[in-house]
Every structure is written in structure tokens, then in C-alpha cells.
């Protein structure tokens, strides 16, 4: 039997579960340390200093955050640009992750910069030479594009269902009309935003790689290379689909739904070639610059590099090539998680591990406060995701009432 999938708000599910309570505790803990940052300055809660200006708030919250939100533009490209209809059910969850992900990237930047109230400065003070400027502007625009791309989900939820109470009742009709107009207008111009989203993503995903190029010899040669932008772009594309698999399976599990194995394993089949290209460039670059000599010494950098490449790329690449892995939910999940882990570690390596200041009085390891804030942010993100899929039609569930003509009803 063919399943007709339709995105539906998961209203009947319970919000509070033991896992959710744990997330709330982690979130509160993170916010407490965050308050410390605003009261006592960045030095009050972090282990950052003049030798190590950037820590995990940049390496994880920002750099890894942007990479792991890449599922948004890769599925948009697949579903909308290439019109591969069978993946439409995956577009909305990925879009929601990207939207929340980028929002938290922006928040991460906000708390990490010393003068958060000047966050708008790059909008009017331009420095076209600065990779960070380019990243900042692209992320800002892309975040807005993501909000716009999400708007149809909101209008779909409320059209014909605007029921405000009390004296607001008389506004119900006009608001409904407004939503309908918005919806019609959006569906005409949405393609502009979808293409723009993909272009902006390729731009800033690669520019994130350019960021550390200027640090030159301060960065460990295993990672410092002029092709960093390309490696960043390729790894972002490579992590897009695994991230979608990773989160769909977690969401399915936590809501007691059946994972869409058919679509997911089809998606999984595309991962191996992309990972392969990334690996080829990574290894090729290593041989051209002859940096493999650094692997003969046993230290944090070489070990983490090996883990990043073997556990994070080679192993999942091998797994995604296997038919039985693609068919087994557990194995598929493990393979996808490994890619996610690999890219996360790669960003940490690039921004934190590889950074070796010429004058240092010790090494950097994140403080409890830094870790708490990062974990807290991730927890809040997951909670918001859970709330969003219960309110808005994001996750597709089988719908028997649909005719086959309206098989996929996603717009935008």
C-alpha cells in the first residue's frame, strides 16, 4: 500500500516526558551561567584569555551549528531545485531545524561578542576584506530567508482556524483574509527565497572555512590549508542528509512514530558519494601539503585528526555503501550519527584544537560555564523543536483521507 504523507501538527502527543524534564534542567543550568556572563563579562564564566580568544562558543555553537543546520539547504536543493518529490516530507523538518539552528547560531554570536548590543554594526560598517564580515552578513540574511521559507507552514496552520476570543473576535475574518493573501503572494515568490537560501548557504558555509586561513601559522598544519573553504563547503553538504536522518529518527522515536525507512534509506544512498568527494579532497590536500608527517607524532592534534577522519568519515562512508546498513534503522542511525559526530569534531578541531598561539601559558579547555551554556542552548533548541512540531504541520504522518492526486501537499 502506498502511504500518503501529509505534514500534521502532532497535537495529541504529550509535551512533558522524563527526557523533556532533563532538557529543561539543562536549559536552566545553562541560562544561570549565561547570566554570569552578562554580569561579570566573558572572562567571568569562560576560560578564554588573550592567548585563546575563541573557544567552544565559536567552535561549537557557531561553526558546528552552521554546519549541522546544512540539512536545510541540502534538502531544499533536492526537494525544490531538483523537484525530487519523494523527499518533500523531509523538507519541512529540515527547514525547522535550520531555522532554529541559525537562530541559536545568532544567539551564540551574540553572547560571545564582548559588545552584544553592537551586533548590528556589521550591517552598516562594512569590511569586504573580512571573512567574518561575509559570514556575518550571509548568516543574517539567510536566517531571514529561513523565516520566510517557514511562513507557509504558519499560514497553513492558521488559515480557516483563526479563533481569537473576546473583543478580538471581529478581527478573525480580516486576519484570515490577510493570511490567505500572504499565502498566495508567498507561493508566487517563494522560489526566489529558495534559490537565495541555497546560494547564501554555499557562500557562508565556505567562508566559515576562510575564517581561520588568516591565522596562518597559528593554526596546526594538519588543518591549515588554503582549500579550507572548499573542505568546509563539502563537509557541510556531506552532513546535510545524515543530519536529516539523525533528527527524523530521533523525532520518530520520541513521538512513537514509525521512521520513514523507505525515504530515509534512499536519502542514505546519496550520502556515500558526497562523503567520498569530501574525503578525497581532505586526503588529497594532506598529500599535496605533505602534512601526514604530523601524524607520526602522538599528540592531541594527531589523535583527534585521526578520529575525525576515520570515525567521522571513513567508517560511515563504508557503512553507507552497504545495502544492509541502509535497510536497518539502527545501523542507518549509527552511520548518520557518525557523520554528524565527524563534522562536529572537525569544526571543534579547526577552531579550537588546531589553534596554537605562538605565546601561550597553558592550553585551553572549556570551563564548566562554557559547556553549560552550550548544552543549555542545545537543550532549548530541542525543546523548541518539540513544541514547534506539536503546533505546526511539520512532520509528515500517513493520512488515509488523501486522494492520490494530492499525494504531497507541501507548498513552498
Amino acid at each position: 500500500m502506498v502511504h500518503f504523507m501529509k505534514p500534521t501538527p502532532l497535537v495529541q502527543k504529550k509535551f512533558i516526558t522524563p527526557g523533556v524534564i532533563l532538557l529543561i534542567l539543562l536549559a536552566v543550568n545553562g541560562l544561570a551561567f549565561l547570566a554570569g556572563r552578562f554580569l561579570f563579562g566573558i572572562g567571568g564564566v569562560t576560560n578564554l584569555n588573550n592567548q585563546y580568544p575563541w573557544g567552544i562558543w565559536i567552535g561549537v555553537d557557531v561553526a558546528a551549528g552552521v554546519a549541522l543546520a546544512a540539512g536545510g539547504f541540502t534538502t531544499a536543493a533536492l526537494g525544490h531545485l531538483m523537484h525530487r518529490e519523494q523527499y518533500h516530507a523531509l523538507v519541512r523538518p529540515a527547514l525547522l531545524t535550520a531555522m532554529l539552528g541559525y537562530t541559536f547560531v545568532a544567539l551564540g554570536v551574540c553572547i560571545d561578542i564582548g559588545r552584544y548590543y553592537y551586533i548590528w554594526h556589521p550591517l552598516i560598517m562594512w569590511n569586504g576584506n573580512s571573512a567574518l564580515f561575509e559570514v556575518g552578513i550571509c548568516v543574517m540574511i539567510y536566517m531571514n530567508v529561513l523565516y520566510i521559507e517557514f511562513l507557509p507552514v504558519v499560514t497553513e496552520r492558521f488559515i480557516g482556524r483563526v479563533t481569537m476570543k473576546g473583543f478580538l473576535t471581529r478581527f478573525n475574518k480580516p486576519v484570515d483574509k490577510l493570511l490567505r493573501a500572504l499565502d498566495r503572494g508567498l507561493s508566487k515568490v517563494m522560489f526566489i527565497f529558495i534559490i537565495a537560501g541555497v546560494v547564501l548557504s554555499t557562500l557562508h558555509q565556505s567562508s566559515l572555512g576562510t575564517l581561520m586561513v588568516i591565522a596562518g601559522p597559528k593554526m596546526h598544519p594538519l588543518w591549515q590549508t588554503p582549500v579550507l573553504p572548499l573542505l568546509f563547503l563539502l563537509s557541510a553538504i556531506a552532513v546535510g542528509f545524515p543530519m536529516v536522518i539523525f533528527e527524523s529518527m530521533i523525532a520518530a522515536r520520541s513521538f512513537g512514530l514509525k521512521p520513514e525507512m523507505e525515504t530515509l534509506s534512499k536519502l542514505g544512498r546519496m550520502i556515500a558519494p558526497i562523503l567520498g568527494i569530501y574525503l578525497a579532497f581532505k586526503i588529497g590536500d594532506m598529500f599535496i601539503r605533505e602534512t601526514f608527517v604530523y601524524l607520526t607524532t602522538f599528540n592531541t592534534a594527531s589523535v583527534l585528526f585521526m578520529i575525525e577522519v576515520f570515525v567521522g568519515v571513513v567508517l560511515p562512508l563504508r557503512m553507507f555503501l552497504s545495502r544492509s546498513v541502509l535497510k536497518s534503522p539502527v545501523m542507518l542511525f549509527i552511520a548518520a550519527s557518525l557523520v554528524v559526530f565527524g563534522v562536529l569534531l572537525n569544526r571543534i578541531n579547526n577552531f579550537v584544537v588546531a589553534y596554537t598561539p605562538p605565546y601561550s601559558f597553558g592550553s585551553y579547555f572549556p570551563s564548566i560555564g562554557e559547556i553549560s551554556v552550550t548544552v543549555g542552548f542545545v537543550s532549548i533548541l530541542v525543546l523548541l523543536y518539540r513544541a514547534a512540531v506539536m503546533i505546526f504541520p511539520v512532520i509528515s504522518v500517513p493520512d488515509k483521507s488523501l486522494s492520490s492526486k494530492a499525494k504531497y501537499t507541501i507548498r513552498g
Partner: protein, 299 residues
């Protein structure tokens, strides 16, 4: 999307492209001040002449309104036991290193911002808060800075420091080559107070000549290298040394300007917005073609 007709699709794409190219033209002009004047000033630091009195440290703090102990306390030489770095409380510091030829006369080395000719900080700063002035100074604008600390990650000499413990308005702190004093016609505070010939303030080109001349006349006293003449494309402050500069903990750097590679990547990706706009057009075409094909299949 379904209702989209071909005409409006191409029209919008074209308008968008034109708009972006328009931005490109103005973008080319934006950016911080980065002047490489032939008359720019610099300082030649002769580490073989420096006596380690640290008067320059005191003068620098005084000139920049930073809290400091009285000048007499700077005679204490026990601070030399540990290597120190300039930070938000001291924009310049002096470190001591062994003199292998004459152990009784150790070398002392004053460090501060090098005032690079092609500064990484100027290139990196997200809002263009840094600028290289005509007088050779690399200065920082407190009204622009957002406190992202990218300048710190970029500087090859690890110079900019940050007020980590200030909750509101933390500043990036580094030597500003006494820009304000020099505008009043005064010397940099350190060069003025230095009791010996360790700090020579003058036009950079002249300093290079003086340095070469000294190295030639006293080959026993100096190593061949003038540190800063070519490093990262040349720096405003240059050093003469009695032993290998690596032993005095100067970073080993190439001759190419530090921002070179990243700027060319950056400008390659953005060359007048042509690559992004073409990508946009390409993806638009792809979208239209595949859509067309699916429609035909469905029909």
C-alpha cells in the same frame, strides 16, 4: 510555486541579479582606512642596546592613563624571571633573554604591536574598527568594535588583548604608537623616555638604512637579520638582535603579508558578486528545467 509562469521567473531573477551587482560596485569602496604612506614612521628597536630599565613600560602606561606603580618600582628585575606578554593592563612589556657570548649582559627585548605594513587585524576586523594611518600607526576605533576578537585570532604577533572581565564596553587594547601624542608633535612616550639608543623613532625607510648600516659596521654585535624588514610584508617596528631572533621568541614568519591568502580567497568567491549571481542563475535554471520535466512526466 505552481502558479509561477516562465516570464515572471526570468524577470525576477534578472532584477535580483542587477540589484546584487549594484551592491557590488559600492561594496568595492567600503572598508577600513589602510594607508601605506611612503613617509610612514616606525621604530627601530636595538635589543643589544636596551638595558632593561623598563622606563618605557612606565611611560606607556602613564601616556595611556593606565594605572601604574611609581617609576622607582620598575627597577625590580625579578619580573624578568617569567616571560610576559602585552595585555589589557600593559601595552608594552620588556622580557629578558640570555646572552651566550657575554652572560653578564643579558638581552632585554621590548615588545608591543608591530604596526604592520599589511596588518592582519585591519583586514580581519568585521566592522573595520582597525585602520592603518598615514603616520604608520595601526589604531583601533572604540565606537565601532563589537568585541568579536577576530583581530586577536588573526594577528600573527598575538598582540591585541581584550578586557575579558568587563561586562559592558570591553575594549581591545594594544599599542597605538602614541597616535594622539604624535599628532601634537610629541615623540612616542617610550622612545622619548628611553635613556639609551634602544628605540630610534623615524621614517621607516630611513630606519631600514640605519639598521643595515649598523649590522654592516658591527657584524660581531648583530645577527644578519633585521626582524620586521620583510616579515609578513614588513612591519613599522623593526628589531636588531644579538642572537637568532627565534631565541628571543619572535615568531618565525614568511614574507607574504598575513592577510594575503584569505583576502584573495575572499575576493575570488565574491569577485564583483559574479560567482554568487551566476550560481543563482544556474540554480534558477536547474529548478526551472527539472520542474518542467516533472510537469511533462505528470501530464
Amino acid at each position: 510555486m505552481n502558479k509561477l509562469d516562465r516570464r515572471s521567473f526570468f524577470k525576477t531573477t534578472a532584477v535580483l541579479g542587477a540589484g546584487l551587482t549594484g551592491i557590488a560596485a559600492s561594496e568595492a569602496k567600503a572598508g577600513p582606512k589602510n594607508i601605506l604612506s611612503p613617509e610612514r614612521m616606525g621604530v627601530l628597536v636595538d635589543t643589544t642596546a636596551c638595558i632593561g630599565c623598563r622606563n618605557c613600560e612606565w611611560a606607556c602606561k602613564t601616556a595611556h592613563d593606565l594605572p601604574t606603580a611609581p617609576i622607582e618600582s620598575y627597577e625590580d628585575r625579578s619580573v624578568f624571571e617569567k616571560m610576559r606578554r602585552p595585555d589589557e593592563t600593559a601595552l608594552t612589556v620588556v622580557n629578558r633573554y640570555d646572552n651566550l657570548k657575554k652572560p653578564e649582559l643579558p638581552y632585554t627585548v621590548k615588545v608591543q604591536c608591530m604596526h604592520c605594513d599589511h596588518p592582519a587585524c585591519v583586514s580581519a576586523c568585521i566592522v573595520g574598527a582597525f585602520s592603518k594611518e598615514e603616520n604608520g600607526a595601526v589604531v583601533w576605533d572604540t565606537d565601532k568594535c563589537i568585541g568579536c576578537r577576530y583581530c586577536m585570532a588573526a594577528c600573527p604577533f598575538q598582540i591585541p588583548a581584550f578586557e575579558y572581565h568587563r561586562a559592558i564596553g570591553p575594549k581591545i587594547m594594544k599599542c597605538d604608537f602614541c597616535s594622539a601624542r604624535r599628532e601634537e608633535g610629541k615623540m612616542p612616550a617610550c622612545a622619548e623616555i628611553c635613556p639609551v639608543e634602544a628605540l630610534t623613532y623615524g621614517p621607516r625607510e630611513e630606519l631600514v638604512r640605519i639598521a643595515r648600516d649598523r649590522v654592516k659596521r658591527f657584524p660581531d654585535r648583530y645577527v644578519e637579520q633585521i626582524y620586521g624588514e620583510y616579515e609578513v610584508g614588513g612591519t613599522g617596528w623593526m628589531y636588531l638582535a644579538g642572537r637568532d631572533v627565534a631565541d628571543l621568541q619572535f615568531p618565525k614568519l614568511g614574507r607574504n603579508p598575513a592577510p594575503g591568502v584569505s583576502e584573495s580567497i575572499q575576493h575570488g568567491i565574491f569577485a564583483y558578486f559574479v560567482p554568487p549571481v551566476s550560481l543563482y542563475a544556474l540554480l534558477g535554471a536547474l529548478m526551472w528545467i527539472t520542474k518542467h520535466r516533472t510537469e511533462e512526466e505528470e501530464a
